[in-house]
Amino acid sequence: MPPAPGARSIASGGRVLILTLTLITLTSSLLATDPGPGSIAPPTLIMVNDLDYDNGESLTISWVPSLDDVPGQSEVVAYRILRSSGGGQEATIGTVLAGESTFVDQSVNRDSAYVYRVATIAANGGEGYSLPTDAVVPNREWLNWDLVWLFLACLVLGGSVVFFIETARRGKKLFVRKIAGLEAIDEAIGRATEMGRPILYIPGIQDMDEVETLASLTILGKVSRQIADYDTQLFMPVARSLVMTAGRETIKTSYLEAGRADAFNEDMVRYITDEQFGYVAAVDGYMVRERPATIFLLGAFFGESLVLAEMGNSVGAIQIAGTARPPQIPFFVAACDYTLIGEELFAASAYLSGEPRQLGSLKGQDVGKGIAMAVILIGVAAATIAELTGSGFFAGVVSTLQNVFTTR
């Protein structure tokens, strides 16, 4: 795409432009303070500011209120903002109450130049107009430089993940600790096989636009690969049609890989209903009637977490659960045999694959954790020293760190 006219790719360039514009408008509007006798004083110092780092879709107009706009008195009622562009007709684009001194014009186009006037409206119907400002063209910025720290943080973290994926690919051995819930998967599938009872896989109740559902489907890929080997019955009820399609695709792939294409059956994955508790009613009914030996509850869960997990527990199933919703984790911890807590859910697919590159990414996110911990440590230490000694230097360190790590 070609750069938009007037766009500056460098922050300082944009700032200088705005500053000059502001100065020009300042001087011109200073001359505007000449209320005629008997009329109401117009607002002064009309400034038009282009917001930094936006898409060039707004201009902010500000002014110093009319001398007659005194708080507590009601001589001035409002201010009217008028705009013209390209020598065309001037039109009112908005009115704000007395006491206000800014207006954001969000109906501007990037390619046009705009001239503004602001008028004081008096209670007695009188009006006082300011002089017009100079023409201003809203500026589009291709990069939001306020987010430069976020960008760097992304690079560092993403870089460390990619770096360790690469390191692992080249054959460097990486240690990964055991995750109990995942170690238990083999045993859980084996148990269902021995008992000749089905395995129930619940991927949460959210759709494919939820990252936990994606993570759950990735785990399903590994789990169903093992189930295919064991030739155990698998049932996956879903609450979203897209998850049904994706789930079928995933299981089918696993069965093909296991060389068991014959054992795959589309009806392993069934759409129930999109309604949260309608889904729960059906799945609870299934549990009681079919008595699955093993239940996986992996994905995004809400209030239904315990209703599902307790029912599963009551039919004597081994349950492996995992979610990234902090409020639901305790319910799983209480009612399930193994629970993947937050981050472990996302690490699970890498862990289960055992593939070096995937394990490398876990090492990469550990580096991220290390950085987070180091920053917390430095931040807390500096804040404590600053609090105890009143040292300006350390207070500066803290506020810098907080700025870097705070994004709107």
């Binding site: 704000v96 109450l97 006491g99 206000e100 009551s314 409020p327």
Partner: protein
């Protein structure tokens, strides 16, 4: 104490005694018996009202004190940001605060950020104001600004310009010149703002977009599940917090104790605290009994 209450206590006490007896003999309790007892624990105190003494906690007391301390005629904004799901816990707070505010002679502006909040708001307008304050006049003593779609957007606007978002009340009467909104240019001009809710947008958004920028005094009433996420804002950004039915019951107790003419008012917060308290006690007892069985069986295995 009525026979009904005695009956309730006997049933629940008897059930727990039976559970304890079984547990001491090392026998697990059937889930269905637990279900039955929980059902009875909730149902009986509802049928035979069981009320407890409530001692207002500091978080609740500070809201009460603030409304007491404001000079009569102060202006208070109440926002109903909840749905029927949260209503059993939150509606009682909204009702008792409305009573307190009007009894103190303050003025109220009602509004809602939730489409479902309008119906809850109407409950207060139909069941509280005409019954307890027949003399209270719309426009003079209270105004219903109604629901406005736009979530945080609404808050951003009213933080600087309330009439812009609410040029009229819910029935189309222009708000300009209404005595209830006298001198109010923005939400920051109110003497106190209270949000009842627990979801999004709710008290958190009120703090971020209204209380922090304008510095207006702010308090919240919320469902018990949402209370912890609001704790960090107390006491600097939020002067008080009512959490769950317990918060409502504490406020009702404080109010009914001081305002004798309201000693017999409906107190749904206190009423549902009966079953709630009994349910908590039964659950605590179940935890203890579970551990009794566990340690018994462990000791048996140890000696065997």
């Amino acid at each position: 104490m009525t026979t009904g209450v005695i009956f309730t206590l006997v049933v629940i006490g008897g059930a727990l005694a039976y559970f304890a007896w079984r547990s001491l003999r090392g026998k697990e309790i059937d889930r269905r018996l637990i279900f039955l007892v929980i059902g009875a624990t909730v149902a009986l105190p509802l049928i035979f009202p069981l009320e407890f003494e409530h001692q207002p906690s500091p978080l609740v007391e500070r809201i009460y004190e603030r409304i007491e301390a404001l000079p009569p005629g102060s202006q208070i904004l109440l926002s109903y940001d909840f749905d029927p799901g949260m209503a059993p816990e939150v509606q009682p707070m909204a009702d008792v605060i409305t009573r307190h505010v009007l009894a103190r002679g303050h003025r109220i502006a009602f509004m809602s950020l939730w489409a479902t909040g309008q119906a809850q708001l109407n409950q207060t307008l139909n069941n509280v104001i005409p019954v307890d304050f027949p003399e209270a006049e719309i426009e003079r003593d209270w105004v219903n600004l109604g629901f406005k779609a736009g979530n945080e957007g609404v808050l951003r606007v009213i933080a600087s310009d309330l009439p812009k978002m609410f040029p009229t009340d819910v029935e189309g009467r222009p708000t300009a010149g209404m005595p209830a909104l006298e001198g109010i240019r923005s939400a920051g001009d109110f003497d106190l703002v209270i949000s009842f809710g627990g979801g999004k947008p709710g008290p958190r958004e009120w703090i971020l977009f209204v209380a922090d920028p304008t510095g207006v005094d702010f308090a919240a009433g919320t469902a018990a599940v949402s209370a912890p996420e609001l704790y960090p804002y107390y006491p600097n950004q939020m002067l008080g917090l009512m959490g769950g039915a317990k918060g409502a019951a504490e406020y009702e107790t404080a109010f009914m104790g001081q305002y004798e003419q309201f000693a017999d008012m409906p107190s749904p917060g206190r009423r549902i605290m009966g079953p709630l308290t009994m349910a908590h006690i039964v659950i605590l007892a179940l935890i203890v009994l579970g551990n009794v069985i566990y340690f018994r069986s462990r000791r048996e295995r140890g000696t065997a």
